[in-house]
Symmetry: C2
């Protein structure tokens, strides 16, 4: 590698004056994406003998596991996002630049952003995934994914607008469509969303919308295979199914969506459901700037790396988090695309880069599965922690504590904790405000940019 120890002659981060960067004689580590993986890496590299530049298209880190609570009005958006600049306050060697990276030119060790070019010595891709509609354009145009904070707010706004419209219309069929929700995908995001909607229907709808019986709101959860939460234990899957049924969620397994026109969902088995609200959590695909040789891109649009997370075919480009796939006999599909794996990879790569720079020997990445948690609603959660598999109040309490402690920022933790406490006793979801008048299709494309 270019920058082995003491082998640096001049500032290399900056090219021309397009993006202003301080002169530095340190090796330049460019990280694209400040999700769980990117931030874990920043933490490892802070105040070391490296110039770190973090690029992100947002100025904040998002705590994705709680997006569904913003979508269902339980939390305000500001409390699950955290400004990068606050995170890196006082880190002498870390810079943040708000820019979208459009292309990697590996031959010249350069990235092209929408704000200009930047040189790198080491490039780290931590760009994560986006919603995968598997080429179904009709579904994509009319439904909503739930991968970032804007998606969550869009869901919240569309949902509340439709519930308001249902109070205005006298057409029963239209009212049914406006109040029905279809969630596609029985993974944690889909299960948690279905549960949160069911609680909204149970506790908020009768008080807020006396105009119509809350029973007209139907919630469907559609899963392509034969069980929910398929990556968790059988106990977790079956308890989740029970909890959702207790909350009157209609779970359809071995079923999938074949078409959607904004009002009617058609399934593969030929069923039709009238619903103006379709939330798609059924798949993700990797997203990254162009310039990575296609032969290193594997299933799910992930990037194949070696056991040290170095992208195959490149000497100084690495991938971490959901985008990275270490394909071995033990992990034929790569590691799971979860926060835990992303954080562990970010930390690992930080240590590894520091060792590489000192010409010290490095070890391959090893994933430690700390277990899985998912919640369906108040006092309803499932936990798989090694041999211990349990469900109910204690799992829910554990879920709450783990999530609360993982949120960035003392203030955010307090805000979320406070909101949860109030809502625990009052069953309230107070943030049910439509701040942007959101409409799908036309607007989705704009607001995602």
């Amino acid at each position: 590698m270019k920058h082995a120890k003491n082998n640096i002659e001049e500032s290399t981060c900056k090219i021309a004056d397009e993006i202003c960067l301080p002169d530095s004689t340190l090796p330049c580590v460019v990280i694209i994406g400040g999700g769980f993986a990117g931030l874990a890496l920043v933490e490892k590299l802070k105040n070391k003998e490296l110039q770190v530049i973090l690029f992100d298209k947002n100025n904040f880190h998002q705590f994705q596991p709680l997006l569904y609570q913003v979508a269902t009005s339980a939390l305000q958006p500001d409390s699950i996002v955290f400004p990068f600049r606050k995170q890196i306050n006082g880190y002498k060697n870390v810079l943040f630049r708000l820019a979208e990276v459009e292309e990697i030119q590996s031959s010249s060790n350069t990235i092209i952003t929408n704000k200009g070019k930047v040189h790198y010595d080491y490039l780290i891709l931590a760009t994560g995934t986006t919603t995968n509609f598997f080429g179904m354009d009709n579904v994509e145009s009319h439904s909503l994914g739930m991968k970032d904070i804007r998606d969550s707010l869009n869901i919240r706004h569309l949902m509340l607008q439709n519930l308001e419209q249902a109070a205005i219309t006298c057409d029963e069929k239209e009212r049914d469509a406006l109040t029905n929700f279809v969630i596609v995908g029985g993974g944690p995001a889909g299960v948690e969303m279905a549960g949160a909607l069911a609680e909204f229907r149970k506790y908020i709808l009768p008080k807020d919308y006396p105009e119509y019986p809350s029973s007209i709101m139907n919630i469907y959860l559609i899963e392509a295979i034969d069980e929910l939460l398929s990556t968790m234990s059988d106990k977790a899957s079956s308890m989740t199914l029970k909890y959702l049924k207790d909350l009157d969620v209609q779970v359809l397994v071995n079923e999938s969506v074949s078409d959607y026109d904004g009002t009617q969902v058609t399934t593969k088995s030929g069923k039709t459901i009238l619903a103006k609200n379709l939330i798609w959590t059924a798949g993700v695909k990797g997203q990254f700037p162009k310039g990575i040789d296609e032969k290193h891109v594997v299933r799910g649009n992930r990037i194949k790396t070696d056991a040290n997370l170095k992208v195959e075919g490149y000497e100084n480009i690495f991938a971490i988090g959901d985008i990275a796939a270490i394909i071995t006999e033990q992990t034929p599909k790569g590691h799971p695309q979860v926060a835990q794996a992303a954080i562990q990879q970010g930390k690992y790569l930080g240590d590894t880069l520091l060792k590489l720079m000192k010409d010290e020997p490095i070890k391959p990445f090893e994933y430690k599965d700390k277990g899985s948690l998912a919640t369906v609603g108040k006092r309803k959660a499932v936990a798989d922690l090694g041999k211990f598999k349990f469900a109910g109040y204690f799992a829910w309490l554990l879920w709450s504590i783990v999530h609360l402690m993982s949120i960035s920022g003392f203030r955010n933790r307090l805000m979320v904790g406070f909101n949860w406490t109030v809502s625990y006793f009052s069953y309230e979801k107070s943030n049910r405000v439509i701040i942007r008048n959101f409409k799908p299709k036309a607007s989705v494309k704009n607001t995602k940019k």
Copy 2:
């Protein structure tokens, strides 16, 4: 009036099936706008022998006095807005409909909304004001008003984007323009905004943007007449000026803006200021649906009413809040357009309508000025309470308590109180996140719709 006591024969609220409303034999009071005046009226009419229908284009009440704190990242938007449906939970005779009222057809006692027609027996206009750019299209296209929560978020987003861009550019002139702020209007909104920006510059900028010295950010406050807070006492005006100078705000009195192209502000006296951030708080004008005879519209686009707030020339149309102008010898310009007057008018009209319906005698509206408060920053505020005029820590404490107690909703009060407490000790403004990528001009028009 049509519905004197016991003179009601049939349901009159509903026309056709355009907007679904329950059948009712009660007189139908339609209120347009759920600001301070509209909500105070709703509170007076709740659970009385009337069918009340509140229309608003938003599903929430907004606490306008704190908009500037959302704009400057001190508060999250959700904590100063409050869902109407939560407010009216359990009010048996009050309905809310999310719709924009487009026209009043007084000859048939009907309003036309974007969702359909509705009949009224009594119509109350509580539609408030919007930013008045006094016909300066260039200024309107490139600057931002601060009249609702979307305006606040737009300011926040634009400000943070510009500060980010200033960290990217190497062009010093561009960086100056990106970091300079011009606030036009030396009333409470302008003064409070200027103070909050100055505190942002003092406490946040040096930590968050080590890329450039915080001294490059200039804050200008431009006021057309010779003093700030002209409706308050001389002591308040002069102390405010002192506080702002202490915070390094450049106050220009007897000055006004004549042109703005998005980068350069030109003033009447010929001065030019380079600034990509212009916040306009220099004027408001009444906004209301068409259909009110122009001869009853007075200065500032307000509607002339009699001493009972009945609109001149109509038997059953009333106006309350900022939109209403009771023109007498004592109040040649109408009452001040402030929250206090709006609340008092809403309460008064509630009592008056109930009396009218029982054929009881009514008294004219009397405004009780409870005094004025304005804050420039932490421990810096001014108060005029009758004969007591004071400034400093105690005024600031009073301002904080009065505002905290006036916010709708227990949870909101706690959230704001908590944020203020944290920020009092930490000088933090934690919500500095750009959730929507806002650009002025093109987008402004869209997002305001």
